[in-house]
Symmetry: C2
């Protein structure tokens, strides 16, 4: 057996990581197979020994990007006082650093509108990613705050709404031309998101 066991698997992982970066910074359409392979230190031809199609790669890379972003966004949060964790998390998500480095960040914001038109596999990956982020928010909430919220179902709603605001805010801040306005979007959504999570919400009467 030539090549150590797992050599191919390693290469595959390298290709996925390369794609996870490029997809977030250049989008799905903007990321060609050749570019992905070059960025992984390989040439384009070998690609199909690892994946059946570009779609397959996109699915795998999207999942990797979700994990990667999750790690980076929660890194070191244990060291922060419980009461402050959530605000820190939101602050990181809606930061200029995150806005300016999409290749390291949340793929929901970077690929969301492109994936609305994606194939079934990618959309399923997207959903898993969203659920993961929402339940991540859950874990960050200090117990005191959780107790302030009424039911778990209501919390789930609230978290989804906050995630929507975060994803939307980051995306808008990136799409807008003017720096000041972009900063303003980040500030506004940061404040509103923290505010929303710190106030118990009674279920609205809008159907």
């Amino acid at each position: 057996m030539p090549y150590s066991a797992g050599h191919k698997a390693d290469t595959r992982q390298r290709i996925i990581a390369s794609a996870a970066d490029l997809l977030r910074s250049e989008g799905i359409a903007g990321t060609g197979i050749a570019k992905v392979m070059k960025h992984a230190g390989l040439t384009h031809g070998g690609f199909y020994a690892h994946f059946n199609s570009k779609n397959d790669l996109v699915s795998a890379a999207f999942e990797e990007a979700v994990l990667d972003a999750g790690r980076k966004l929660t890194e070191g949060l244990e060291g922060i006082e419980k009461q402050e964790r959530l605000a820190h998390y939101i602050g990181r998500y809606l930061s200029r650093v995150h806005r300016d480095n999409p290749e390291l960040g949340c793929p929901l914001a970077a690929l969301g509108s492109e994936l609305s038109r994606g194939d079934e596999g990618a959309r399923q990956g997207f959903e898993r990613g969203l659920r993961r982020l929402v339940s991540g928010l859950d874990k960050l909430l200090p117990v005191e705050l959780i107790n302030a919220h009424t039911a778990n179902a209501a919390d789930d709603e609230l978290f989804l709404a906050v995630m929507s605001m975060m994803v939307g805010g980051l995306m808008l801040s990136r799409a807008v031309g003017d720096q000041d306005y972009s900063d303003h979007i980040l500030r506004s959504t940061r404040r509103a998101a923290v505010e929303l999570l710190h106030k118990p919400v009674n279920a609205g009467d809008i159907q």
Copy 2:
């Protein structure tokens, strides 16, 4: 002078309208010149008599899409009681109809993440569109509610945050595979957005 005055301008407008539809349903990369022209009842070659490049068309079509979506979202709202207008607007935006017909809807949600990587012209158009929608929200607020809010600056922040939630929520609801979850996202963001706008917000202490 052959052809009536404004004939060419009309054709140009038809091309823009065609692109405004296709862009929202197929994305920027997915929308080729040939498809746009065919959808406008023309053939591809004449395109460059009307536009200098695809980018120019995208900018123009994006603006048209913002206007179009604005019209549709506010249509008939005057007939509704002031107190209820805002909730109606939000309800329309975060509705299944809107989710399922992107070609008729808000281009911020449909093209946001693709436009983050777009050229300068398109990003400026994006910004104008966002400002327009935010100030539209403003006009929908009944006076009583406006008075409940402290300053105008704070309102602007609030509106931006709500717009972010709406755009994000719509985008997420489209990208997610599972229908039930998608409906759940719409419901959650609808409730939270209305709630947020109906409660005065004191500026948070997060910097």
